[in-house]
Symmetry: C2
Subunit: 162 residues, 2 copies
């Protein structure tokens, strides 16, 4: 029964590391959705098998429109590692990053970005990015930022159940 | 002689408010360039005739790759005004915002953005944005974010004299 009290229980059965980390990001999105001040987006940054940062969107809690899960995680990871370059790190995010977070990822210099829900999914649920973002080529964007989709259905459930 | 000790002296002679504010942003870029931990980029956010935030790039000082002048100013302005929506505010920046800062401006919801040096100027001086940024239409970008260029030559001097 101990496992059932673990908020990451449902996702922890896999031994696949990227899926485990994405499970954690999605659980953080759930936590953000359940928190009055939070938002339904979660992000995790790893280096090797170590989790460097894990957080959710806290725009309302922090009264700061930049506090998306990914940007917040990048700020935490830079502080923790004492560096402005997160080369060697991987970002897991419950939703494809918006233009601000992708721009931050450019400077962070991640090895890869795993995302669950797509930018198009986000739009359908009312999270509307900039026109400049939607006018960009999805294929080029995914190639430039080395983006891989994972666990989309699990991420969409967080928004559907909200 | 008092004026000469004012770091904004050279730009203060104009009574034109946007030029005065851009002069302040460019002086902050100079200050950032002169500071070992800073970067040669400055930003000012105003609401009416009041300055809400004024700062320079402090990526190295803060050990945080997100601490560009504009994003930092947005974070400061949100905190100061206690809001996540900066509608009614104007951003003045010594250089056309990178993708991260423009993405942050999307959420901040500025009335206008005044910029001095262009993204192309930045590239020439070695500040290289993402391909996604360069692949965007300059005209569409300027229209979406209501961007107006001002004092380009003065801003370029900061980088040339560095």
């Amino acid at each position: 029964m101990q496992g059932r009290t673990n908020p990451y229980f449902c996702y922890m059965k896999t031994t696949d590391f990227p899926k485990k980390m994405m499970g954690k990001a999605i659980c953080l999105a759930k936590k953000g959705a359940a928190n009055e001040d939070g938002g339904p987006f979660g992000a995790v940054i790893t280096k090797g098998e170590q989790i460097i940062a894990a957080t959710y969107n806290n725009v309302n809690g922090d009264q700061d429109c930049t506090q998306h899960a990914e940007l917040r995680a990048i700020q935490m990871a830079c502080k923790k590692l004492g560096t402005t370059n997160l080369e060697g790190c991987v970002l897991y995010t419950s939703c494809e990053p918006c233009m601000m977070c992708l721009g931050a990822a450019h400077w962070a210099n991640f090895d890869y970005i795993y995302y669950a829900a797509s930018a198009e999914d986000a739009k359908e649920f009312g999270f509307v990015y900039s026109n400049m973002y939607y006018n960009s080529s999805t294929e080029d964007r995914h190639e430039e930022f080395k983006m891989i989709q994972l666990c989309r259905n699990e991420a969409l459930k967080v928004w559907s159940q909200k």
